[in-house]
C-alpha cells in the first residue's frame, strides 16, 4: 500500500464528455482536432469554450471529415504536440485508415469514442462495435463507466501513451447517452499537481523536427513489416506494466485510486473492476455503464440467496487475461453481456464473449460461458434483464449448455 496524501478536490457536476475535456485541459494539450458527430461531440464543444475562455492554450482545428481529423492529430503528435481527438460510430469508421496509421506510426494520440451504433439504420445510441473495429491494430482501448473514471482515465491515457516504452495511441470508450450525456459529480484535483503525475510529452529520438531529420514511415515492403509489427506488439505488452505504474502513481499524487470518488471506492486494479466476486458461482461480465443495472441486480439477487458477482472490463487492450483467469477460475458459470456483435462468429456470439472464452481455454477446470447480446443501438439493459440473465446463468450451474448465446429482449425471440 502506498501512502495517500490529503488532497482537497473540487466537486463539479459534469457529464462524461465534459469530464474528458477538463482532463485534456489539465493535461495542457497543444492541438485538438474536431469534427461533429453525436454523441462524442460535446468533448469538442467544451474544449472550444475552454480555449475561448483562456483556460486552455491550444490550436483547435475543425477538420474536413474524420479522416482529416485523425491525420491532423497524428502529424501534430509526431512533431511533439500533445493532442486530443475523438469520434463516434460511423465517424470513427470514416477515419479508420488514419486511425490505423496513428498506431503504426507510434503517435501517442488520445481519442475519445462516444460509442454509437453503426449505420444503417440510423441510431444515436450506444453499441461497442465502433471502437471494437480497432481491437486488432495496436490501439490501447479503455472502457469507462463514470464521468470520474472518464476524467481520471484521460489523464492516465496521456501518461501511458507517451511513455517511451509504449508510444501508442489510446482510445477511451464511453457509452453514448448513458455516459456522454448523463451528469455526475466529478472530483477535480488541484490543477497545479497534475505535473507531478503527467510529465511533458517527449518523443526523444522519434521527434520530427529539423534538428532531428528522420524519415517516418518509409516504404519497407516484405523486408521489415514482420519486425515492425512485432515491435508494435511488444509495446502493447509493455503497456500492461506502464498502466499499472500509472494507476499507482495516480493514487500517490491525487490521493485516491483512479475512478474512485469520495464515497465510491474503486477496487485497486487498473484492468478490471470486480464486484461481489469472491464467492460468486455466477459471474457477469460487461464493459461500460452496463455495470449499473448489473450491480443493482446482483445486490437484489444476493438477497434472494444467489451467489453472483461481476467483473467489469476496464481495459480491453491490452486484454486483462490474467485477471480474467484469476477472478473466473472459481466461478461455475460466466455470463458475458455484449453490447456488440460479431456476425457469423463461433456460436454467433459477441466480441467480449470470444475474448473471455479464449482467455479461459487453457484452464484445466473452466467455467461454462454464456453470452447475452443486448442493449444495441442504445436500448436499455434493465435491472430485470440482468436478473433474468443471472437466473439463466444459475440454471446452467449443473446443466450443460444447449444454447450458448441469447439476445436480450429482442422482439419475436423469447429468451
Amino acid at each position: 500500500m502506498t501512502e495517500v496524501k490529503k488532497i482537497v478536490e473540487k466537486e463539479v457536476l459534469m457529464n462524461g464528455t465534459q469530464a474528458v475535456a477538463y482532463a485534456a485541459m489539465y493535461a495542457d494539450v497543444d492541438v485538438v482536432a474536431a469534427y461533429p458527430i453525436r454523441p462524442y461531440t460535446e468533448v469538442m464543444d467544451t474544449i472550444s469554450k475552454l480555449i475561448a475562455d483562456g483556460e486552455l492554450d491550444a490550436e483547435f482545428i475543425v477538420a474536413e471529415g474524420e479522416h482529416g481529423q485523425f491525420e491532423t492529430v497524428k502529424h501534430a503528435s509526431l512533431v511533439g504536440a500533445r493532442t486530443l481527438v475523438g469520434s463516434s460510430g460511423v465517424g470513427w469508421l470514416y477515419a479508420m485508415e488514419a486511425i490505423v496509421v496513428t498506431a503504426t506510426d507510434r503517435a501517442p494520440v488520445v481519442a475519445i469514442i462516444g460509442n454509437r451504433a453503426l449505420d444503417d439504420p440510423g441510431a444515436y445510441g450506444v453499441e461497442h462495435n465502433d471502437a471494437l473495429m480497432v481491437r486488432d491494430v495496436g490501439w490501447l482501448l479503455a472502457w469507462v463507466d463514470t464521468a470520474q473514471e472518464a476524467f481520471d482515465t484521460t489523464l492516465i491515457a496521456y501518461r501511458v501513451a507517451e511513455d517511451q516504452r509504449v508510444l501508442l495511441p489510446v482510445g477511451i470508450s464511453m457509452d453514448g447517452g448513458f455516459l456522454t450525456h448523463s451528469e455526475q459529480i466529478v472530483r477535480l484535483p488541484p490543477k497545479e499537481i497534475v505535473k507531478d503525475f503527467l510529465p511533458p510529452y517527449n518523443r526523444g529520438k522519434y521527434l520530427v523536427h529539423p534538428d532531428n531529420p528522420i524519415t517516418v514511415a518509409p516504404q519497407v515492403n516484405e523486408d521489415w513489416v514482420m519486425e515492425i509489427r512485432r515491435q508494435h506488439e511488444e509495446a502493447m505488452e509493455r503497456a500492461r506494466v506502464v498502466i499499472s505504474e500509472a494507476y499507482e502513481s495516480f493514487k500517490k499524487v491525487f490521493g485516491r485510486y483512479p475512478g474512485s470518488t469520495g464515497d465510491i471506492k474503486m477496487p485497486e486494479n487498473p484492468f478490471v473492476e470486480p464486484f461481489m466476486i469472491d464467492d460468486a458461482e455466477v459471474v457477469l461480465i460487461g464493459m461500460g455503464t452496463v455495470s449499473k443495472p448489473m450491480k443493482v441486480a446482483i445486490k437484489n439477487m444476493r438477497k434472494q440467496g444467489y451467489k453472483v458477482g461481476m467483473l467489469r472490463i476496464r481495459w480491453f487492450r491490452p486484454f486483462p487475461t490474467q485477471d480474467v483467469i484469476r477472478y473466473l477460475s472459481n466461478a461455475r458459470v460466466v455470463c458475458v453481456i455484449d453490447r456488440d456483435y460479431s456476425m457469423g462468429s463461433p456460436n454467433r456470439g459477441g466480441v467480449v464473449y470470444h475474448e473471455i472464452r479464449s482467455s479461459l481455454y487453457d484452464l484445466d477446470q473452466r467455467p461454462k460461458v454464456l453470452n447475452f447480446i443486448g442493449g444495441l443501438g442504445g436500448r436499455e439493459i434493465t435491472i430485470q434483464d440482468v436478473e433474468k440473465i443471472i437466473k439463466i446463468g444459475y440454471e446452467h450451474r449443473d446443466t450443460p449448455i444447449t444454447k450458448p448465446v441469447y439476445w436480450v429482449g429482442v422482439r419475436g425471440d423469447p429468451w
Binding site: 492541438v31 482536432a33 491525420e71 501534430a76 512533431v79 511533439g80 504536440a81 531529420p213 517516418v216 518509409p218
Partner: protein
C-alpha cells in the same frame, strides 16, 4: 507583418539566375525514381528552395514509394508519410503543432517550412477536401500537387488529372470506343484561388523551367499563410515516350498553351515564361499536335481528336476572361440590359 515588409521579404527570396541557386541538396541519392522522372525534380527543387529548416510530408503515391525505401531515404530534411488523402490534414496538424509548441515555449521559436506534396489522387481526387480545408486556415504551409496525369505508382490508371483521351490502364482505346477518357482535366489552381480567399499565393509550374519553379516555391514559403502549387510533371512511363524527352515535353506543354504558367499573388494573376509572351500576343502558340504526337498515350488519336483538343486550348486563350486560368467567358455587370 506589414504588407510592405512581406513584399520585401518575398522579393529578397527570389533567385535571379540559375547560377545563384544554392548548391546544397536536401533531396539526394537513394531514391529509385524512373529515368527522366520530372516529379523527382519537383522534390529536388522543393527541398533546395526550402532549405534545411523544413518538414516535408509526402502522401502515398510514386513519390512516396520510390523516394523513401527503408534504409535509403533520399530526404536530408525530416520527412513523414501521410495517407493518400491526408496531405491537407497532415500539413495542418504539423503547422498547428509547431505554432502551439512555439507559442507555449515548448520548442524554439523559428520559422520552419511545412511542405506537403501529393499526386493526382492525393490532391485532386481523394485529397481535395483536405487540401481545401488546409487552405481555409492561416497556418504557414505549402501544398504541392505533383501532377503526372495518372496514378503512376499503380501502373498508370486514369485520374481526374488525366488529359482528355489519354490512354491509361483504366482508359484503353477499344474497337467500339476510341476515347474512353472523355472528362476534361480538372483545373485545380483556380479551384484553390476562387474558393479560398485567404490564400495569398498559388501557382502552376513545370520542372522544365527550373528557376521559375524554384522561385515559385520560395515565394509560396515566404508570403505566409496557406499556399498552393500545381506542377505538371511529364512521366515517361505514363505518357509513353523516351525518357530523354521529359524536359522537351514540359516546354512543349507550355509553348502549345496546354499548360499555362502563371502565379496568383494577392489577387493578381501574373503570367510567367512563354505563357506571358503568349497571353501578351508576342508569341504564337505551337500547335497541340506537336505535343500530342510525341506521346504514346495519344497514339490512337485521329486528326479529329487533335482538332478537338486544339479547339479546347484555343478557347482557353481566345474566349476566357482570364486566359488560361478561369473558364469564365464573360462578365456581365449591366443587369439592366437584360
Amino acid at each position: 507583418m506589414a504588407e510592405k515588409e512581406i513584399e520585401e521579404k518575398v522579393y529578397k527570396s527570389i533567385i535571379k539566375t540559375i547560377k545563384d541557386v544554392p548548391l546544397e541538396e536536401y533531396y539526394t541519392s537513394g531514391h529509385r525514381t524512373c529515368q527522366g522522372c520530372e516529379s523527382a525534380l519537383v522534390m529536388r527543387f522543393l527541398a533546395k528552395a526550402a532549405g534545411p529548416r523544413t518538414i516535408v510530408i509526402g502522401a502515398t503515391g510514386c513519390m512516396y514509394v520510390a523516394n523513401t525505401t527503408y534504409y535509403t531515404t533520399s530526404w536530408v530534411v525530416p520527412w513523414v508519410h501521410t495517407q493518400l488523402g491526408g496531405s491537407g490534414a497532415a500539413a495542418l496538424g504539423t503547422a498547428a503543432a509547431l505554432r502551439a509548441l512555439m507559442r507555449k515555449g515548448k520548442i524554439k521559436q523559428e520559422p520552419i517550412n511545412v511542405i506537403a506534396f501529393c499526386g493526382d489522387l492525393g490532391c485532386a481526387d481523394m485529397g481535395l477536401s483536405g487540401v481545401s480545408n488546409a487552405m481555409t486556415y492561416d497556418y504557414n504551409l505549402l501544398i504541392i500537387l505533383y501532377d503526372n496525369e495518372s496514378s503512376a505508382n499503380t501502373d498508370i490508371q486514369e485520374t481526374s488529372m488525366t488529359p482528355y483521351g489519354a490512354q491509361t490502364s483504366f482508359s484503353r482505346p477499344g474497337k467500339a470506343r476510341r476515347i474512353m477518357k472523355r472528362r476534361w482535366k480538372k483545373n485545380v489552381v483556380p479551384i484553390i484561388i476562387a474558393g479560398h480567399r485567404n490564400v495569398k499565393y498559388a501557382a502552376t509550374m513545370t520542372p522544365a523551367y527550373p528557376l521559375d519553379a524554384i522561385n515559385k516555391i520560395r515565394k509560396a514559403l515566404t508570403i505566409g499563410g496557406p499556399t498552393f502549387i500545381h506542377s505538371l510533371d511529364p512521366c515517361p512511363k505514363g505518357w509513353d515516350y523516351d525518357p530523354k524527352f521529359s524536359h522537351e515535353l514540359g516546354v512543349l506543354a507550355v509553348e502549345t498553351g496546354i499548360w499555362p504558367l502563371y502565379e496568383y499573388v494577392n489577387g493578381e494573376i501574373i503570367y510567367n515564361e512563354p505563357t506571358k509572351s503568349i497571353v501578351e500576343g508576342r508569341m504564337k502558340r505551337k500547335p497541340v499536335k506537336e505535343y500530342l504526337e510525341k506521346q504514346g498515350r495519344f497514339s490512337h488519336f485521329t486528326e479529329e481528336d487533335i482538332e478537338y483538343v486544339q479547339r479546347m486550348v484555343d478557347e482557353m486563350y481566345e474566349e476566357w476572361e482570364i486566359p488560361g486560368v478561369m473558364p469564365i467567358k464573360s462578365i456581365n455587370v449591366k443587369i439592366s440590359d437584360k
